[in-house]
Amino acid sequence: MRPFTYVRAGDVAEAVREAARPGAKFLGGGTNLVDLMREDIERPSTLVDITRLPLAEVTEPPGGGLRIGALVRNSHLAAHPLVRARYPVLSQALLSGASAQLRNMATVGGNLLQRTRCLYFYDGAAACNKREPGSGCDAIGGFNRYHAVLGTSESCIATHPSDMAVALAALDAVVEVTGEGGTRRISLGDFHRLPEGTPHLETTLRPGELVTAVELPELPVAARSRYRKVRDRASYAFALVSVAAALEVRDGAVGAVRLALGGVAAKPWRAHEAERVLLGGPATEEAFRQAADAELAAATGRPDNTFKIELARRTVVATLRQLAAEAGTA
């Protein structure tokens, strides 16, 4: 790991100020950043430790919903009674990610900003446009079983590995960020970017901006939600495909629905098209399949990962089927 300067920020203003130094990065739990620094992929000259900032609370804003401080640990958020009761999909997504140890360290902000697990991104000897713009993409002709099938470009086919973010995408979350220019709010759908020609630009965060909170709107349908993660091991493995879904069935018809996919794109993939197909229609297996098909119509696979398209379709159907069944019995 390259030497760097360590600064511990006492408050948000100080953190933002320190982050203005060239080459500075925020240090959350460090579970992604320290790993990448050791791999010589991240090379910050300054680390601004933000873990002692007073941003580790989950609160209920007057207007409803939930406000989650950026430094709430993943494990604490997953166990939070209000999250479990009102947004179970978020609790489940968090609990399906990484390991208990990592979840105790990982922060909400860091989780959102974790980088891809693409094998070629991790290997300094490989060509990777994300790591070194313009160098090429060794994943396209190489091992790409874990790679994206939606929203890819000829520059990059990496996925965003977060589970939490998939649930947040389904829940219409909003990210609050603070920088030297002040505070702004970015909807989660606009927070991560697709690769296009610039895969090294991963979010719409401006340099030096600090994620301070994530806000969840009040969302009754979210009480009936699930996260389904499909992976190679029974635990402690990144998603091949995951589905975050919330479903409300009224008289056999879909009254409300939220759907997002993970493991398929460079961002948590909100399935707007599928939601459109589902809303108001019958809550049947056939309808679920049509919705999944509609969402995945634009998907393109590579030799190793074409299976993900079918897998995503089946996982969407299975998750909605389960939610519908639970709605029927509740």
Partner: protein, 181 residues
């Protein structure tokens, strides 16, 4: 170089280290506490698990400076003098170890896990009926084998001592439950 003070197994340690030094390397190379193991330094095996203020973390991805002032417990801090911690005894009795390299991490992880469980934390296999109107309350979920396995999945054991580890934890969890009842 910076001076960093951390509390390790109840004693204060002062270290003169670069900020690049991980908590794991600080323990192993600077404090001579080699109980915490390095299996990957990638956050992927759990061999380096220690407790920070009672919570289990992987010390290989923790920078020591960041843990300034925190209370760290390593495997060396589990026994009470010559008296082994019940979990250490149970690991031996159930043969929850072979080469022993993952063992310190498994032990620290299990202790952290039991505390999480006592506090009512769910896991990915905890069945939770959707649509709970209120915040869940009541006693923590029963620590079934499936629960233990899921909760301990951050600790790899290449020797495959998993069955013994689960049995050992289950035994201790049972007496734990007795005591808290």
């Amino acid at each position: 170089m910076a001076e960093v003070r951390i509390r390790v197994n109840g004693a204060t340690a002062t270290l003169d280290i670069e900020p690049q030094v991980s908590l794991l390397d600080a323990l192993r190379e600077h404090l001579g506490l080699t109980g915490a193991k390095k299996g990957c330094a990638q956050g992927a095996c759990g061999a380096c698990t220690v407790l920070a203020d009672g919570e289990r973390i992987v010390s290989c991805l923790a920078l020591a400076v960041q843990y300034e002032g925190r209370e760290i417990t390593t495997v060396e801090g589990l026994a009470d003098g010559e008296r082994l911690h019940p979990l250490q005894k149970a690991f031996i009795a159930h043969d929850g170890l072979q080469c022993g390299y993952c063992t310190p991490g498994q032990l620290c992880s299990a202790i952290g896990m039991l505390a999480e469980h006592r506090a009512g934390a769910p896991s990915a296999v905890t069945e939770q009926p959707p649509g709970l109107p209120e915040a869940p309350s009541g006693p923590p979920p029963v620590l079934s084998e499936a629960e233990i396995r899921e909760r301990m999945s951050g600790n790899l054991c290449r020797c495959g001592a998993y069955n013994g580890i689960v049995a050992a934890i289950q035994e201790v969890a049972a007496t734990d439950a007795e005591m808290t009842r």
